[in-house]
Symmetry: C2
Subunit: 285 residues, 2 copies
Amino acid sequence: MITVKTIKELRSIIDLQKSNGKTIGFVPTMGFLHQGHLSLMQTSKEKSDFTVVSIFVNPTQFGPKEDLATYPRDLERDQALCDSVGVDLIFAPEVSEMYPEGYSTYVDCEGNITKQLCGASRPSHFKGVTSVVAKLFNIVQPDFAFFGQKDAQQVAVIEKMVRELNFSVKIIPCPIVREEDGLAMSSRNTYLDTEQRKEALVLNRALKEAKKLIENGEREAEILIQRLTQVIETSKSAIIDYIQIVDVRSLESISKIEGEFLIALAVKFGSTRLIDNYRGRVGGQ
Amino acid sequence: MITVKTIKELRSIIDLQKSNGKTIGFVPTMGFLHQGHLSLMQTSKEKSDFTVVSIFVNPTQFGPKEDLATYPRDLERDQALCDSVGVDLIFAPEVSEMYPEGYSTYVDCEGNITKQLCGASRPSHFKGVTSVVAKLFNIVQPDFAFFGQKDAQQVAVIEKMVRELNFSVKIIPCPIVREEDGLAMSSRNTYLDTEQRKEALVLNRALKEAKKLIENGEREAEILIQRLTQVIETSKSAIIDYIQIVDVRSLESISKIEGEFLIALAVKFGSTRLIDNYRGRVGGQ
C-alpha cells in the first residue's frame, strides 16, 4: 500500500492501472476510520481491481460554527487500518493541494434535495460535499465509488449529481454498520461522553420500533414520527434536529408510506450531532 | 460521419475509440457553424485521432430576455460543414436529453471572473456555460477541447473550471477567425442588417488602433480605452456595453499594460450584441 499527497502522483499511478485494464474502486473518507469505512473498502476490494481511499477533512463542507478544527484526525492509524483490509492506495492531500489560492469553483445540487433534512441546519454542507466529490471523481476517475448508507442524504445528493452531470462512475451505497449495541458507526461518536454514548442508543431503538410498527401495518408518517419522537425523548439530553419520512430519491416528505421510503433523523447529544436512518420498502415490487 | 442524439449512443462509440487507444478531440458548439468553428475542428483533426462536435443550443446560458428562441439553427447545413472538414461524430442532443425533468445541478465559478465583462450584463450566463461544458466533458471524455479565443472570457472561465475541478481534458484556445473585412465571425452576425453589418467593422478597427498605440509605447489602460471608445463612437448606432483591459487569467482590470493582457469589448448594434477582443503581450517573456 502506498500513500500519496499530490494529484500528480495519484494520477500517474491511476493512469498506469487503467492502461493495464484494471478497474478502480474508490472510497472517499474524512479519515478517523471505523468499521463502517472498512466495510466500504472490503466491498470495493470485491468489486474492483484497485482500491483507492481518500482521506481528506474537506473544509468546504463544514459550516462556520461546525467542528472542522476539532474533527478527529490520525493518519498513521488510518493507514494501518487501510493496509489491514488490502487497500492499494491512500490519497491524503493537504488543503492547499485541493483548494489552491483563489479557488472558487463549486458544484451544487440546487433545490429541496440539499435544503431539507441535514441541509436545513447545514445550509452549505452539501455544496461542499458535491464539490469535493466532483473533484475527487475527476482526480481518481473510478469505475465504482462506495458510500455509506448512514449518510442517506449524501448518497441521494451524490447520485443526483452523478446522474445530472453525467459522471461515468457507478455509485454503490453500502449498508450502515453498527456497534454491537446498535449505535451507527461514526467518527463523531468519539465526541460522546459515557452518559451520552448510552443515551445515543435511543436512535437505533426508535428506528427499530418504527420498523416494527410498519411491519404491523402502520402507514401514516405522522403516527410513526410521533412514536419515533416518544422513544428518542426518553433520553433526557437528546435534542431532536429532525425526524422525517421521505421519498428515497427526491427526499421529499411523504405523508403515507408506500414503496421505498427513508426514515431519517438527526439528534444532538450535548454538542454532538448524530444522524441515523432506516431505509425500507412496503408493498409489491 | 455519424450524428447521434443520445448520451448512451455517444458513450458506446467513444468507449470503443478509447479502447482502441484513440485520442478524442472535442469541439462544443451551439451550431449554425461558421469558419471560426471549422477552424477549431481542423485543429482538433490535427491534434487528435477522433473528433467529436457537439451541436446544442444550451438554454441555461441564455438570460430570460435573451435570444434563445431566435438563436439560428440549421442542423443539416451544420452536418454538411462538419463532414466537409472530416469530423467523425456529431452529438446533437435534445434539451430533454441534457436536462431531464427535475434537473438542478450546476457548476459555477464564483467571483469576479464571471461577474465582470459579459458577466455584468449576463449574470447567469457563465454558470450555464460551465454547467453544460462540465456535462459535455463527462459525456465525451475528451483528451483535448477546442474553444475560440473570440469568447475570451469563456476560455478563461473554462480554464479555471478545468483547473479547479481537476478535469483531465486539455483546453486548447484557438485564434479568432475574421471575415475578410475584419468582423469577428459569430453566429449572431446573421442578426445584423446591411447598415449595422457595415458599422460593426468599428470593433476590429478600434482594436487595431489600440494595438498600434501599444506598439508605439502606450501603456495606460485609460488612454487606450478612451481611444477605443472614440473609434467605436464613430458608428452612430453602436451602444458600448463595456471596453476593458484586463489580466488574461483573472480577468481583473489593469491600469497599466504589462506582460500578457486582454482588451475585451462588447457593443450593441440595434438589438444585436457583439463581442471582440485582442490578446497581446508587451515586454520580456
